[in-house]
């Protein structure tokens, strides 16, 4: 029972009009570079590339809230003044691990610059260096855990130890995921993200984790010495 006036009114906005002022507003399938969007920035799904960056930035906010909750829980726990609060000595290997992680951020940034400059082998090299440094960092974290265990500090031994394991465990899990992502992204052609976008998204995540680690280290120091 569709009134012809109504239906023509309603369909008008969708009709691609020759010479219309709509510009790229009404884009019909098949127009432009290979059917992927008028300017070629469309990804495999025609989705604008920047959405992946937005998505990662948003996800980082969510992850940050998780760590923020843990940090505030730790501060509260400390503030309770309970007898079992014993300051935790920072395992010495953490300093080395921090240096490794910072270096990995630099190597990833380097990789990104080389990619933009068109230097594909150079990009690959520094991308792989980042992956290796990340793996080294995780190995170092395991060593840190071993150092604590040697000192008979387990997750339940004291609240500071407990939080330390939780923080480093959660951060390490996120970083492990990042390493897997770097390896997968480095070896396969991403079907839906352009190479530069993959790098940008990976960089966002990785630098977040580096920054988070530096923050956590400073937080451990603050708890130890305040």
């Amino acid at each position: 029972m569709s009134n012809s006036l109504t239906s023509s009114v309603l369909t008008r906005g969708n009709v691609s009009r020759v010479g219309s002022s709509g510009g790229t507003g009404d884009v019909t399938f098949g127009r432009g570079g290979g059917g992927w969007g008028g300017d070629g920035t469309g990804g495999a799904e025609g989705i604008p590339q920047r959405v992946y960056v937005t998505g990662m930035a948003v996800a980082i906010c969510g992850m940050a809230m998780f760590f923020a909750a843990m940090v505030s829980a730790s501060i509260v726990r400390q503030g309770l003044g309970a007898a079992d609060w014993r300051p935790l000595e920072i395992p010495p290997v953490l300093w080395l691990n921090t240096a490794i992680l910072l270096a990995s951020s630099f190597s990833l940034a380097r990789a990104g610059r080389l990619q933009l400059a068109g230097d594909e082998p150079g990009f690959r090299h520094w991308w792989n260096v980042t992956t290796i440094l990340g793996a080294l960092f995780l190995a170092g974290q395991v060593i840190a855990w071993r150092e604590l265990a040697t000192a008979r500090l387990y997750v339940a031994t004291s609240p500071t130890a407990g939080f330390f394991y939780v923080f480093t465990g959660a951060h390490g899990l996120h970083l492990a995921g990042g390493i897997v992502a770097l390896m997968v992204a480095g070896s396969r052609r991403a079907r839906w993200m352009k190479r530069e976008t993959v790098t940008r998204v990976a960089a966002l995540y990785w630098h977040f984790l580096t920054g988070l680690w530096v923050f956590l280290l400073l937080f451990f120091l603050w708890e130890r010495y305040s």
């Binding site: 906005g13 969708n14 019909t28 495999a44 998505g55 809230m65």
Partner: protein
């Protein structure tokens, strides 16, 4: 026209063609199981919620039955008569299912997934694969939760709020507190993961995938609601995740985040020391309060949409409505302490949280005034979506007003943990938010399924539910005022509680009657699904973009041609136009033809 109409949503250079990969997938698995089509994922969430709400309602009817006939013999209960721990397990499961798998799922992930891309003129969500993963995580969480019913020891009895030490020490504190509580926590953690992923999808989609011309100021209020809700989910669920991890460690790794020293449970001294039960409460309610706004905001968006459509008027005060959604979302994060007035938290904090809590009543009131303003001077058609939307307004007013009692610590000192609180949150969440879901279902059923629901049955269902829900929950205010304590399996131990049994009997009868009335909805829904009349493209003569495509929409939403947006979302009864609605994609030049 709305200001900012000159600003395009996304740079033209980022505009894109309809993707080739959005060809209809073949095979049952790709089409219905691991689908990347947001419409299928939306329906998956919707039907998951439908299953959950049916279970949740049955649980509540069992609870209501037991409260009035505590010694009745029930054939399906182990031992014949329901024990207090079985009752409390029902309480816990009911709350968890309803809050998480119904109210956090259907309004946002159900309808939001289906209609967000349609309403913003996008062919799909930003991350279709992630969308499917989010759903299956939620489904896994649901199975995990149901598993608590069958694990040794039974389901947890600590309520959906799971306060330690009751929930933190294991089996020693009570039945169901062993494996059941652990599995419950795992279910919640999985749910958190699914929700967080889904919220990332929503936010990125709204920021980056709006059609040309769809500025923020032209987004339907449903989209605004999904946006604010997704941000709230993003910022709140991470905190629940953290709390849940710490609780799990306390239970299984011997840590002491929430467990203080000197605990003696059933004569056994516990080895824990130094933790704080209040720390859990802070973490939980920091999540828990935004959670209730997560449950209601999408419904508010739907109500605004439906009221405008069926009054044939723009939403009154669109900017105020969008702004108040944002204000509620924001303020929702700073009021959690009103759940903890008598918890042992500093009484000074109580004063601060009280002030902030009363402040959040302001944007809620603004929304109510604007809804009434939308109706005012309208040309109201009382179709079933409209009835549910108006019912939402009524229940939201009632439930919101009981909130201003609870938001004052002096009054909360008497009303905390009584049936007054139960009445309050059921009216806003268990009725108003559900009415939002009903309104959305009736409104969008033609679009989702290409068929029309039976209007007579829908109206009958509405009247019975409207009257029934008030009959259930209004009396509970009085139970609470008289001091009726919640989460009691049995009232026969306390004199003044026994005196309130007649009220409870009335409530139980009303609950069963209203529960029965829902069969009308179920029949209408499923019967119309199979043999309802064919739905036209735009049965309600509505203006938003989902009504410009077929019912149901094609796989890429708009049949190869993405819309361009020229006007705001609620251009109804525009003076000078010959039709009383101007769709958002109707260009200005063309609209002149209709004037």
């Amino acid at each position: 026209m709305s200001a900012g109409s000159a600003v395009s949503a996304a740079p033209e250079s980022a505009r894109r063609a309809i993707p080739t990969s959005l060809e209809a997938p073949t095979g049952f698995v790709r089409r219905y199981i691991f689908s990347t089509d947001h419409k299928v994922v939306g329906l998956q969430y919707f039907f998951l919620s439908l299953t959950a709400v049916l279970i949740g309602v049955v649980l509540s009817l069992l609870m209501r039955f037991h409260l009035v006939w505590p010694t009745a013999h029930l054939p399906f209960v182990r031992g014949g008569i329901m024990t207090p721990e079985q009752y409390l397990a029902l309480v816990t499961l009911h709350g968890t299912i309803m809050v998480f798998f119904v109210l956090t799922t259907a309004p946002q992930n159900g309808f939001g997934n289906y209609f967000l891309p349609l309403q913003i003129g996008a062919p799909e969500m930003a991350f279709p694969r992630l969308n499917s993963i989010s759903f299956w995580l939620t489904f896994a969480a649901f199975l995990c939760l149901l598993a608590t019913c069958i694990v040794p020891g039974g389901g947890p009895i600590s309520g959906w709020t799971a306060y330690p030490p009751l929930s933190g020490l294991g089996e020693v504190t009570g039945p169901g507190e062993g494996i059941g509580q652990t599995v419950w926590i795992v279910s919640i953690l999985i749910f958190c993961a699914g929700s967080l992923l889904s919220s990332v999808n929503f936010i990125a989609t709204i920021i980056d995938l709006r059609a040309p011309g769809m500025t923020l100021g032209r987004m339907p209020l449903t989209v605004w609601a999904w946006f604010v809700t997704a941000i709230s989910i993003l910022l709140a669920f991470g905190v629940l995740l953290a709390g849940g991890v710490l609780l799990l460690l306390d239970r299984s790794a011997g840590t002491n985040f929430f467990l203080p020293a000197g605990l003696v449970v059933s004569g056994q001294v516990q080895a824990h020391a130094g933790g704080s039960p209040l720390l859990w409460q802070h973490l939980f309610w920091f999540f828990g309060h935004p959670e209730v706004y997560i449950a209601i905001l999408p419904g508010m968006g739907v109500v605004s949409q439906v009221l405008a459509t069926f009054s044939r008027k723009p939403v009154f005060g669109y900017r105020a409505m969008a702004g108040s959604l944002c204000a509620i979302g924001l303020l929702g994060f700073v009021v959690w302490g009103h759940h903890m007035f008598v918890s042992g938290m500093s009484p000074y904090s109580g004063l601060t949280f009280s002030l902030l809590t009363m402040s959040i009543g302001v944007p809620s009131a603004i929304k109510t005034f604007n809804w009434l303003g939308t109706l005012w001077g309208g040309r109201i058609r009382f179709r079933s979506p409209m009835l549910f939307a108006m019912g939402f307004v009524s229940f939201f007013v009632t439930g919101g007003l009981s909130g201003i009692f609870l938001g004052q610590p002096a009054l909360d000192s008497t009303l905390h943990a009584t049936y007054y609180v139960v009445a309050h949150f059921h009216i806003v969440m268990g009725v108003a938010a559900i009415f939002g879901i009903f309104a959305a279902t009736h409104y969008w059923f033609p679009k989702m399924f290409g068929r029309v629901m039976d209007e007579t049955l829908a109206k009958l269902h509405f009247w019975l539910t409207f009257a029934g829900a008030y009959c259930i929950f209004m009396p509970l205010h009085f139970v609470g005022i008289a001091g009726g304590v919640r989460r009691y399996a049995d009232f026969t131990g306390v004199d003044y509680l026994t005196a309130l049994l007649p009220l409870h009997r009335f409530v139980t009868f009303a609950a069963f009657a209203t529960g029965a009335a829902q069969i009308i909805f179920l029949y209408n829904f499923f019967h119309s699904l199979r043999s309802g009349a064919q739905a036209p493209m735009n049965p309600w003569d509505a203006t938003t973009l989902e009504w410009t495509t077929s019912s149901p929409p094609p796989i890429d939403n708009f049949g190869g041609k993405l819309p361009r947006v020229y006007r705001g979302p609620y251009e109804y009864s525009v003076p000078g136009a010959t039709v009383d609605f101007l769709p958002q994609n109707l260009a200005i030049e063309e609209s002149r033809d209709v004037q």
